[in-house]
């Protein structure tokens, strides 16, 4: 403080020029990103809003302005609501399971002194290295009705009654796709949670041990509260990535959106309307809905999980 005052009194001009320099530097660093972000993110997003007001084909050669008509249709389109429900299912189920499983494994690996720790970490993280499409194809093979490992295994243990046309039946398709999504995501979040857990001071656990606190109690009373910030962030990640990921998985695993659209999600429905049904304006209305939906969801989840951050 003292030195700052002195500098202000001593050489005001130099300081001002340094301030200018600093602003210039910041501008140089941020402007390219701002431009890129504007051109490739903001403008296209804005364009989506604009195009949703038109009746147009995917070639957009003849546009007809129809105001909010696309949105009116949206609200009475059963297929859209079905896709929405499926999306909610994926968001809730995949998020809940992925979070539980990855927290469990992270706790296990972070708080025990296993020698194979790095090995497990690599194994769990491995699916993240693979492209989503590869994982989708992999699981399609697993669920294959004639030579898939799942069907074969059930046959081997004489449980033919349990065999289904996994990706072709209403009752199983969403669970099967969820399994692939969870397998894909667990490792990534596990590594994130482990990083968070590593940041918690070890002496807290030592004290807990001395006081005779069990491992589970330690997990819920020390680990969880202290890494709450990270969990909050990952929930937003979950929501956004599930919306995006479900498109790839559904598209790869059930090209038609599952039996009677049972696996259709908002983004695959949008794609179908835009490029197969040649109904681009309407697809953009779906896009607007997805945009607002994820926005609102992120805010809600942020509010719900808001809690005073515990300092340590």
């Amino acid at each position: 403080m003292l030195s700052a005052v002195k500098a202000k009194d001593g050489k005001p001009r130099a300081l001002r020029s340094r301030k200018k320099q600093r602003a210039g530097f910041i501008a140089v660093c941020t402007v390219p990103t701002v431009i890129l972000f504007t051109v490739f993110m903001l403008l296209p997003t804005a364009d989506v809003f604009y195009m949703s007001l038109f009746r147009m084909s995917s070639l957009s050669l003849n546009k007809e302005f129809i105001g909010l008509q696309n949105f009116q249709i949206l609200f009475r389109d059963e297929k859209f609501w079905q896709a929405f429900r499926n999306n909610l299912f994926f968001i809730v189920f995949v998020t809940a399971v992925t979070m539980t499983v990855s927290l469990f494994f992270a706790g296990l690996l972070a708080q025990t002194e296993l020698i194979e720790k790095p090995f497990y970490r690599t194994v769990f993280f491995f699916p993240n290295v693979l492209s989503l499409v590869v994982i989708g194809v992999l699981f399609v093979q697993i669920y294959d009705p004639t030579m898939g490992i799942l069907t074969s295994t059930l046959k081997t243990i004489h449980s033919e009654g349990l065999i289904h046309a996994w990706l072709g039946e209403k009752s199983t398709v969403r669970w099967c796709i969820s399994a692939a999504m969870i397998w894909q995501a667990v490792g990534y979040y596990m590594v994130m949670y482990m990083a968070g857990m590593d940041g918690i001071p070890k002496d807290l656990y030592e004290v807990a041990n001395i006081e005779g606190m069990g491992k589970f109690r330690q997990f819920f009373s020390i680990t969880l509260p202290l890494m709450w910030e990270i969990i909050r962030v990952t929930i937003v990640f979950f929501i956004i990535s599930t919306i995006n990921m479900s498109f790839v998985f559904v598209k790869v695993m059930t090209p038609t959106g599952g039996p009677s659209g049972q696996a259709e999600v908002l983004l695959t429905y949008m794609y179908k309307q835009a490029f197969t049904n040649s109904n681009f304006g309407y697809a953009m209305a779906v896009g607007v809905f997805v945009f607002l939906f994820s926005f609102v969801l992120a805010i809600i989840s942020n509010r719900l999980t808001a809690k005073e951050v515990i300092e340590y």
């Binding site: 070639l59 209403k170 090209p255 197969t276 049904n277 040649s278 926005f295």
Partner: protein, 449 residues
């Protein structure tokens, strides 16, 4: 919430400005072709864009060479791609489309439908004058995708023509002394016999394209209620999807389900998976088209496998027999730079020499009377069989759903998705009809005029 509103407003404003700017650009580009058209006829270029999947690109390179040899000074650039729609969509959007496109209306990209809706196809009625018009197989120039606006003017031309039906393995039938069924009763009786041997009766591409059943559904509606019953369905006439003809057709599927005649696991099979099962004698019949033999050329087959092509069973002996026929379209965008030359190229494709090339290199046979006999020596037996089925008393029916302006309803998609539900036992045929009738009601008011 206020914050979101503010952001939305800013977004909306900024986009309005940018989009207007965008429009300006597009119209600039589209006015450009007019100038280039005035160029000399010498050294003309023709850009053709063709669907590659199944047919390959070689055939087009060959045809391009032949056309260039016939027309000195012409240079043809071939764009061939299995995802052709994605390649040419941006070109069309920028007002710089290829001069000639071969991409079927059944392609998932929906390019032809979009061009029709946007009225961006060149009128090619004058290609079909005189001889050529008489040579075309009846009914192939009147489908909604060919003459979409109901004024008799032709905007797309049928390049490939094929009849589709049920395929079976001749050897398997011979070994067991089975006859190809003529009626649905015989069909199901045969199914019982096959079941005793652990063989399924029917399978199809449920997982990725249940619409292969169009091959069964459409002609069967015609058998049950005459061609008009089918046309009423395709044109969304009131009550058409609840008619007796449709009900009888749907009941066939209900029987396949109830009798346990569907090959196990079909609901999760893609077209290649189901075809593979068929080739290995796991199943008696599969609805398919003349591309099947080429498509499964390298797939493992049951010993002695021999392709057999059967039309469809009828309800009673003596019913008029129908078979589904399909055309794949070629067309010229309105904004194309060289429409006259593209038309010349189209006419050239219908010449005998070109038909030979199309058939031998890609198995494409145009809907020209007698074309199949012309190329008999250079095509697979099963392809030839599909063409000559008409000699066995089958009448080809063709058509496509009436085109509408943009709508979220897709009747064809619903029809075959619901068919999967029938097979899964999660829907009744009455509800199936109701769903389609509802779709038809929405669509009938939107038919393009």
């Amino acid at each position: 919430m206020k914050l979101i509103k503010a952001i939305a407003c800013v977004c909306a404003l900024s986009l309005g400005v940018s989009a207007l700017a965008g429009c300006q650009k597009v119209s600039d580009v589209s006015s450009a072709p007019a100038q280039s058209q005035a160029a000399e006829p010498q050294n003309q270029e023709l850009n053709i864009a063709v669907f590659e999947g199944g047919y390959g690109r070689e055939v087009w390179d060959d045809l391009a060479k032949q056309f260039e040899a016939k027309n000195p000074g012409v240079k043809i650039n071939v764009t061939a791609n299995a995802k052709l729609g994605d390649v040419i969509r941006p070109q069309i959007m920028n007002g710089n489309p290829p001069d000639f496109i071969f991409l079927s209306s059944t392609n998932e990209s929906g390019i032809l439908q979009s061009l029709i809706q946007d009225k961006k196809l060149a009128d090619i009625t004058d290609v079909f004058t005189g001889d050529l018009k008489d040579k075309m197989i009846d009914g192939t120039l009147s489908a909604p995708t060919i003459a979409p606006y109901g004024d008799g003017k032709i905007y797309a031309a049928p390049l490939s023509y094929s009849t589709m039906g049920l395929f079976y393995n001749k050897t398997l039938f011979k070994e067991n002394n089975w006859e190809v069924p003529e009626t649905w009763d015989e069909f199901f009786a045969l199914g019982e016999k096959a079941k005793a041997k652990g063989i399924g009766l029917f399978t199809y591409a449920a997982a990725n394209d249940p619409s292969y059943n169009e091959i069964v559904v459409n002609p069967t509606i015609a058998v049950a209620g005459g061609e008009q019953a089918l046309q009423d369905c395709l044109n969304y006439k009131k009550g058409a999807w609840k008619s007796d003809a449709v009900k009888k057709t749907f009941d066939v599927y209900q029987k396949i389900k109830d009798g346990g005649f569907l090959l196990d696991g079909t609901l999760a099979m893609t077209h290649t998976q189901s075809q593979q099962q068929f080739l290995q004698n796991k199943c008696l019949f599969i609805p398919n088209g003349n591309w099947l033999e080429t498509e499964m050329k390298d797939a493992p087959k049951a010993q002695g496998f021999e392709y057999g092509f059967a039309g469809l069973p009828t309800f009673n002996k003596g019913d008029k027999k129908y078979i589904w026929a399909n055309c794949e379209e070629m067309y010229i965008p309105k904004d194309a730079k060289n429409i006259p030359l593209a038309k010349k190229f189209m006419t050239f494709l219908y010449e005998d020499a070109s038909i030979q090339t199309l058939a031998s290199k890609a198995g494409i046979i145009p809907p020209i009377k007698g074309a199949a006999n012309l190329v008999k020596d250079s095509i697979d037996q099963s392809v030839y069989d599909t063409f000559t089925i008409t000699d066995k008393g089958y009448t080809p029916v063709t058509g496509s759903y009436a085109l509408t302006s943009q709508t979220e309803v897709n009747l064809r998609d619903d029809l075959y998705q619901d068919l999967n539900q029938i097979m899964a036992g999660t829907l009744t045929t009455d509800k199936w009809s109701d769903n389609l009738e509802k779709d038809a009601e929405t669509l009938s008011s939107l038919i393009l005029k």
